[in-house]
Amino acid sequence: MASVSLEGIGKRFGATPVLQGVSLDVADGEFLALLGPSGCGKSTLLRIIAGLEGCNAGTVRLDGQDVTELPAKARNLAMVFQSYALYPHMTVRRNIAAPLELRRLSAWRRPPLPGALLPSARAIRAGIAAEVAQVAESLGLSALLDRRPAQLSGGQRQRVALARAMVRRPAAFLMDEPLSNLDARLRGEAREEIVALQRRLGATVIYVTHDQAEAMAMADRVAVMQAGRLLQVAPPQALYDAPASLEVARFVGSPPMNILPARIGLGGRVEVEGVALPFHGPACPGPRLGVRPEAWALGAEGLPARLSRIERLGAEAILHAALAGSGTVVTVRLAPEQAAGLSPGQALHLTPRAAHLFDEEGLRRPLHATLPQHADHG
């Protein structure tokens, strides 16, 4: 397995910039998720790493070696595609064997006739067959080896695509939304399977997805992309707890973070809709306060709001409440027992227990909780 290092990758399609100065280091054996909305350039970036697409600027390094100019087949990377891209006319066995045959058998040994007659070719073929059998076994595909892709279910096809990528022990795995064609239940299983596989092989994986839950659940680190730029690269929890910018804060987390226009009052006290909140931060232009849905506390004081809707999801309840001042709807995540007595139309007071401050440019600013003064009284 190898490390992957990108430096200042730029890509244009005609006059449209798709990627702008993307630099990223993926360590050997790391599982990195490239997360972003569709059209943010994450798939293009993956294809540039794969060598399927050229770039207009920057360098791609594998284990420190510059491979920017190398074609895909010379990079020893394996890719799993969203559509699986299995060869429809070949059996599962031949699909898995294809990358090995292409690497180990010279062109004149490949056709079956001379292949069967030459002892050297026969030995290579036997080796390939053994490896295919082993990989198929490890993914539970042994019984399906003689089927064609059309005769397989989505989950099985996905495993065949994984097997085809695994069989030649690539320097790194590139995965382009490999689970998005599976139904929800299978997706959960496949997630675990891929992570277990990655741990077992100690594989370097770059995993493209638009599903933040998938990225957070699987990856060691998540790289958030938007409009061709890398916004932040961090471990999932750090990304959630300390988003570097408003875009990341909005994109990571479900339901998304509530973003409220704020004002920095006297002494740096943060006010929203004229209500002073227990935080103070630096004076900055265009401040906005971000509050995660689960960071709200209901109480007697705080932002007045009116409850408009409750989603009772079993393990939690999601409240939608309109703030009294502006009518902005905020989402609040509560434990079901906390939401038990609530009903739509009810007046609430909301106080954030934790919050993030963003300036005009969307950059995160330090925010400190004000020492709880009224706690002294009670």
Binding site: K73, Y84, Y87, L102, R164
Partner: protein
């Protein structure tokens, strides 16, 4: 499925049956005449089946008076070579036009479309002169060479290749295939149905081609089947219709067979492209 109204259904089928009958009738007459003795052919009363069977004599005459077997062999040889050459050129070209990005691709495709508009008679004289200068006239090469590149084939395969998912090609590149390997090992197998359709069309066109072989070939032993039939009717001055129609039936049979085979390939093709 919802039950459709009966009357429109009957009318639709009636129209289709009449059309089919109109198409098939010349062939029926051809086969009918090939079974009859000379006396019955121009009898005022037309009947499908002869009163006196003369099939054996007609077909025997067809094969013995002229080297019909040789003509058929020529026909198979020429159509096979032409198709092989057309496939060998059309597949890589179609792949390049459909899936590779290169400067001038649009212009090249425009040229293909433009060439589709040129009737085959237009380049006949320059081709004739070129083959004469190469001293290739009156040979198999004279019939085969001008047809080795089929712009229709390029166009047809290009349209089909465009439906092949890009991921499949990307996967093949990651697996280590060269562009030529992709053409032959990935694109060709997925394109079998389209290629079968093209093979059928190419076979029918080149088997039936009369104009160019008539110009390029003088020797009887090189004649293709339609040319052979022409020799036949000249030799007999058009008097002996029974053997002539027998020969025509023999020459037409491979076409009917090719069509039936291609029809099955079409159906298989449709079911194959259904997979994702």
């Amino acid at each position: 499925m919802a039950r459709r109204a009966l009357l429109p259904e009957i009318i639709r089928h009636a129209v289709l049956i009449m059309g089919a009958a109109a198409m098939v009738s010349p062939f029926v007459v051809m086969v009918a005449i090939s079974l009859k003795p000379p006396g019955e052919i121009f009898a005022p009363q037309f009947s499908l089946l002869p009163q006196q069977w003369h099939a054996f004599e007609n077909y025997r005459d067809a094969f013995t008076r002229v080297p019909l077997a040789r003509f058929l062999l020529n026909g198979f040889l020429v159509t096979f070579c032409i198709f092989a050459a057309q496939a060998a050129t059309a597949l890589p070209m179609a792949y390049a036009l459909a899936k590779l990005r290169w400067a001038g691709r649009g212009a090249a495709f425009a040229l293909v479309l433009l060439a589709l508009l040129v009737p085959p008679q237009v380049p006949a004289i320059p081709l004739y002169i070129a083959l004469w200068q190469l001293d290739l006239l009156d040979s198999y090469a004279a019939i085969i060479l001008p047809s080795t590149i089929s712009v229709f084939g390029i166009f047809l395969m290009r349209q089909f290749f465009r439906t092949v998912p890009d991921d499949l090609i990307a996967a093949a590149r990651m697996d280590g295939m060269s562009e030529f390997a992709i053409t032959w090992r990935i694109m060709l197998p997925t394109a079998y149905p389209a290629l079968a359709a093209f093979a059928c069309l190419s076979f029918i066109w080149n088997w039936n081609e009369f104009f160019w072989p008539y110009i390029a070939i003088q020797s009887e032993h090189l004649a293709t089947p339609p040319l052979g039939i022409a020799f036949f009717s000249n030799v007999e001055a058009g008097t002996n219709w029974g053997p002539l129609m027998a020969a025509a039936t023999v020459v037409t049979a491979p076409l009917a067979l090719a069509f039936l085979l291609a029809q099955r390939a079409f159906v298989r093709g449709v079911t194959m492209t259904g997979l994702k």
